[in-house]
């Protein structure tokens, strides 16, 4: 019998899982110079999109823009592989404009794989990680099912929905990961053995149907935008321009709802067979029908899965009803009368980490060097995953280099809101990014993600010098143009009055600054071009910023004041070693919560459910009193 050969490998960063979080984490770490190993159960499923065939959408589009602004990959990758692009909510305010692109799923996955394969310091390894190796409160590495050990000072868990996954529809229950892929069965135990608390979450996906069996003429066609806004700030609209395909809008009706109601007892969710909490905001069709009994129809969005296939995705119809019910309900929908299912809708249950065990850096409070990102933190969505992956990758690299972690504030980025919510709020269902979660959203627009974050991305080391210089130029061009509009006086000439009249704008009595005119609700920067002969030729993105800054100045400055206020508490750090037992007059519930979460700042503490403003006041008083003492102790 042969002797076992010593089988150990060394690296800086191990990334477990190659979904949207894993890819960003691995790329960030490797690009920052860390020797990185990216583990996946199947190399062919790298950056797979097992659910919806699109990237972005309301508030998620913001995340992608921010990932790009910091030097992540998702924006560039979708720009390479999109088949339709649309700016959503254009009739609303700029805060809620959101970019969404339909992806060719295979192309998206393929392009990401190419990027990974061309990245220095990055190795891809097909293997199931079975154990994390921990010693002395520090991560030492990970071990695969085959027993091979990888030693590294940082490990990033990006296990998605694979941990002890189970897929369910009707009476069928299969022990598989998403899309019928192999699940990961060992790692959960290893995490528990190391003291980590796991949650059991549920999410779902709708059926895919054969496009040849669908009558699109009975639906409303939804085309892409004429002028495409690329996701990546590196790309210009004309560079990504291409022939786009359409999506289609149709609706459920009373017949659909009747079938669902009649068979609701056969839904494993309602019969109690599924345990695990499903997302509230991405509900299954049976949830929607039961929750909104008065609605006589629900919207369905028919999206192509890619150019390589006939398959269509029925957005809005995620379900865990039995196959026969799925088929029957789909065929009640206009245009889907003859539809043939290619893949059934199903619900998936999986283990994930209770994210309260993480710091805002996404490092585990309990195990130094262990990071976690994506659905394994109880979030849902590709974009949420990518955002966390990027931050975890950056912070793993920074930990190794002995640098301070990058933590984005709620007032700086949707990514900050996402992570702060994950680590301070008790989640009982998969967390989905939403517009309403970002209280400072007027400042956190998708159009200014680069202005907010690219400087930081450059500091971190993920943004090239060239791109950084470009940003600085853009910034100064915006400032100069705003200044010019404030100093340019428009006289009440005939031409000006005629333009105003054509827009039903009050005529001028005397001269007025161009900025003042732009601020009028019925006017704008572009509209006034004919009466502004001195206007320099500026790129569209600069003009857009000038217009928004001027038009919404009042709102922006009021929101900025809110941020100032918010930051006061955010800046007050709570010492890591604080013993809450020493803090007198804290209510018992508050103390328990604070001990459990161990917030890093007073601001974080104030957002924990069960901690009242009075409790925060107590903490504040305590910290104030002990500020000097602790300084003395340090000396």
């Amino acid at each position: 019998m042969g002797k076992i050969i010593e089988n150990t490998e060394k690296a800086d960063v191990l990334v477990v899982g190659a979904g949207h979080a894993g890819c960003e984490a691995a790329l960030a770490a490797a690009r920052l110079g860390c020797e990185t190993v990216l583990f996946t159960v199947s190399v062919d499923s790298i950056a797979m999109m097992p659910c919806n065939p699109n990237i972005g959408g309301t508030s998620k589009g913001h995340l992608v823009r921010e990932v790009d602004a910091l030097g992540g990959e998702m924006g560039r990758n979708i720009d390479k592989s999109f088949i339709q692009s649309k700016m959503l909510n254009e009739s609303k305010g700029p805060a809620v404009h959101s970019l969404r692109a339909q992806a060719d799923k295979r192309d998206y996955s393929q392009k990401m794989r190419e990027t990974l394969e061309h990245t220095e310091h990055l190795r891809i390894r097909q293997a199931e990680v079975a154990k994390i190796l921990v010693g002395d409160g520090k991560i030492l590495g990970a071990e695969t099912v085959s027993g091979k050990k990888y030693l590294a000072p940082a490990v990033i868990l990006c296990t998605g929905t694979y941990l002890n996954a189970r897929c369910v529809y009707g009476e069928v229950s299969e022990e598989t990961g998403p899309n019928g892929l192999k699940r990961a069965t060992h790692l959960s135990d290893s995490l528990r053995e190391n003291g980590l608390k796991l949650l059991r979450f549920k999410t779902g996906t709708p059926a895919r149907i054969d496009g040849r069996t669908v009558d699109l003429s009975k639906m409303e066609e939804q085309k892409g935008d004429e002028t495409i806004t690329p996701f990546s700030f590196e790309n210009k609209p004309e560079e990504v321009k291409k022939q786009q395909i359409s999506c289609y809008l149709t609706y459920t009706n009373e017949n659909t709802h009747k079938i669902i109601r009649d068979n609701i007892d056969r839904s494993p969710l309602y019969s109690g067979a599924i345990r695990g909490t499903g997302p509230r905001y991405c509900p299954s069709i049976e949830d929607k029908v039961m929750k909104f009994p008065d609605k006589d129809r629900h919207q369905l969005f028919i999206e192509p899965e890619g150019l390589y296939t006939h398959e269509l995705y029925i957005s809005g119809m995620s379900s865990s009803l039995p196959e026969d019910v799925q088929e029957a309900m789909i065929r009640t929908v206009p245009g889907l009368e003859q539809a043939v299912i290619v893949r059934n809708a199903y619900a998936i249950m999986y283990d994930c980490l209770d994210p309260m065990q993480l710091k805002a850096s996404l490092e585990c409070k309990l195990i130094r060097g262990l990071f976690s990102a994506g659905q394994s933190n109880g979030s849902s969505g590709y974009e949420e995953a990518a955002a966390q992956g990027l931050i975890a990758g950056i912070n793993a690299a920074r930990m190794i280099r002995g640098q301070e972690a990058v933590v984005l504030k709620r007032s700086e980025a949707y990514i900050g809101v996402l992570i702060d919510d994950l680590v301070t709020k008790e989640n009982t269902e998969p967390y989905r990014m939403m517009t309403s979660r970002a209280e400072y959203r007027l400042l956190l627009r998708q159009d200014n993600a680069d202005l907010r974050l690219t400087e930081l991305g450059h500091e971190i080391g993920l943004i090239s010098e060239e791109r950084y210089q470009h940003l600085l130029k853009k910034k100064s061009a915006i400032e100069a143009e705003i200044r010019r509009t404030e100093h340019t006086v428009i006289a009440p000439t005939e031409k000006v009055q005629a333009l105003l009249a054509s827009r039903f704008s009050t005529p001028l009595k005397s001269g007025i600054t161009l900025a003042e005119l732009i601020r009028r609700p019925e006017l704008g920067y572009a509209i006034l071009a004919p009466v502004d002969p001195e206007r320099p030729a500026l790129p569209d993105d600069v003009c857009e910023q000038v217009e928004i800054s001027l038009k919404y100045e009042g709102y922006i400055s009021r929101q900025a004041a809110q941020v100032e206020h918010f930051l006061k508490l955010e800046r007050r750090r709570i010492p890591e070693e604080l013993d809450y037992k020493d803090v007198g007059s804290l209510r018992i519930e508050a103390r328990q919560k604070l001990e459990k979460f161990r917030p890093e700042t007073l601001g974080q503490a104030s957002r924990i459910a069960g901690v009242s403003p009075a409790d925060v006041a107590v903490l504040q008083v305590y910290l104030e009193k002990h500020k000097n003492v602790s300084r003395e102790t340090l000396m």
Partner: protein
């Protein structure tokens, strides 16, 4: 370390029949146990909310005989275990008892710390806690009434209702931003407008009551000015000697001034710098223009006294200039000597209310007091169901009002709905700060620091 236990003299430091040392905190009973001797029971065995007769000891020395009450958490003022030692009310004996309690392990309470604990323990909201302080310092019936209402939560209830209305509207808006398919914004703006307008009207009513309300509650700070020899001190003495008037001396805002408060029915005048006027009865009257300027600046009401038997002098004119922009009543004194000009003539020329009075015989003073009542809307104020007297509340209400105004502007301009949330949340927060339901940096210490010792 658990919570610490605090103690203070809670009954003020003037000699009196009874004085109370209050001890609050989880160790209250334990700390006091060896210091008191009650027949048949030890303090830890004493029933809550019962009054026991006993002795207070420092070692073997009997310090005082006292009535002793144990109040158990959360049924006490602070919502903590509390021991109250009702001693004889001399400052020295109380001091000795307190010293002994402190020696036994309690910490001297900071001013307002008992109330702060009541707030932090959730027994009072911030507005209610502030009412405690107002109640203690009240020296008019209206002040007392207002403070009690506020303590009983009348203000909090109103503010909470306003917040709830705002939250409901904002929550719907946010839901619609996230899930436009199921939350329709059609008609939202039309539905929001009356809600905001009602809220703004309510807040404006509260604010309108605030200025005059505060003056009615605290008294109207009144400056009596006039050039030398017009009879200021005689007028003052006449006023203070006025029938039915009750006069008390209270410390003024600066160390060397005495404020005299003059009360006649619902009218309370705080006569500022009366010491200054009285000094001037000395041989040489020397109230400089600078001093008058200072007095006028701080006053809510100026009584400009002139010698009505003579025409206005240059000095009088200078004083008229000083009073510009202040509520001013011109008094033509020495009416008993005959008037150089009628009050009606002066009034129409100066556009100021003007009365003929006589400090000598008191003629005309009643009419002046009635005019002051009208100027400060005292009758209306008494009709107000809710009176805002706290300056902090007033400022926050003003902020909320401004934010509601911005939100209404947004509706007027038909700007996209999502802009509304900024101002709606600002209004919501400002109102929440009144109750202490929003986290505010250092607010808590600032407020309770103004409390008196022992409360």
């Amino acid at each position: 370390m658990e919570f610490d236990t605090i103690a203070a003299i809670s009954s003020g430091l003037v000699p009196g029949g009874i004085g109370i040392v209050r001890v609050s905190g989880p160790q209250a009973v334990k700390i006091c146990e060896p210091l008191v001797r009650i027949r048949a029971v030890s303090l830890s065995g004493a029933k809550a909310n019962h009054l026991y007769y006993g002795k207070i000891l420092d070692g073997e020395t009997v310090l005082d005989e006292a009535l002793i009450a144990v109040l158990k958490a959360p049924h006490s003022y602070t919502a903590e275990d509390t021991v109250e030692l009702q001693c004889h009310g001399g400052p020295f004996v109380l001091g000795r008892v307190l010293e002994t309690v402190l020696k036994a392990g309690a910490r001297l309470a900071e001013p307002g710390e008992f109330s702060k604990r009541a707030f932090l323990n959730g027994r009072l909201d911030l507005s209610e806690a502030e009412a405690v302080m107002d109640l203690i310092s009240s020296h008019t019936e209206l002040a007392r009434e207002t403070a009690v209402k506020q303590l009983q939560g009348a203000h909090s209830e109103k503010i909470r209702a306003m917040r709830a209305a705002l939250l409901e509207k904002t929550a719907y808006l946010e839901a619609a931003l996230d899930d436009p398919e199921h939350y329709d914004l059609t008609g939202y703006a039309e539905g929001l407008r009356p809600v905001l307008e009602t809220l703004r009207k309510d807040i404006r009513t509260l604010l309108a009551s605030a200025d005059n309300g505060r003056l009615a509650v605290e008294g109207i700070k009144t400056a009596i000015i006039g050039r030398p020899n017009v009879g200021k001190s005689s007028f003052l003495n006449r006023l203070l000697g006025f029938e039915r008037a009750i006069v008390t001396q209270i410390p003024g805002t600066t160390r060397d001034t005495i404020e005299e408060s003059f009360r006649c029915g619902d009218l309370v005048l705080r006569l500022s710098d009366t010491a200054g006027i009285r000094e001037s009865t000395d041989a040489v009257e020397r109230i400089g223009i600078e001093r008058a300027r200072e007095t006028v600046r701080e006053a809510d009401l100026v009584l400009l006294l002139t010698d009505g038997s003579q025409a206005f002098s240059e000095e009088d004119e200078a004083l008229f200039v000083l009073c510009e922009g202040k509520k001013t009543i011109v008094l033509l004194n020495k009416a008993d000597l005959g008037l150089a000009e009628t009050p009606e003539a002066v009034s129409s020329r100066r556009n100021l209310p003007c009365f003929a009075v006589s400090a000598l015989n008191g003629d005309g003073i009643e009419a002046v007091l009635e005019k002051i009542r009208v100027l400060f809307c005292l009758a209306e104020i008494r009709q107000q169901p809710l009176l805002v007297t706290n300056l902090r509340h007033k400022e926050l209400l003003r902020q909320a009002e401004a934010s509601l105004g911005c939100a209404l502007d947004t509706l007027d301009h038909q700007a996209p709905e999502d802009f509304l949330t900024i101002d709606l949340m600002d209004a919501y927060r400002a109102l929440g700060q009144i109750l202490g339901e929003e986290v505010e940096e250092d607010l808590i210490n600032e407020i309770f620091g103004k409390f008196c010792m022992g409360k």
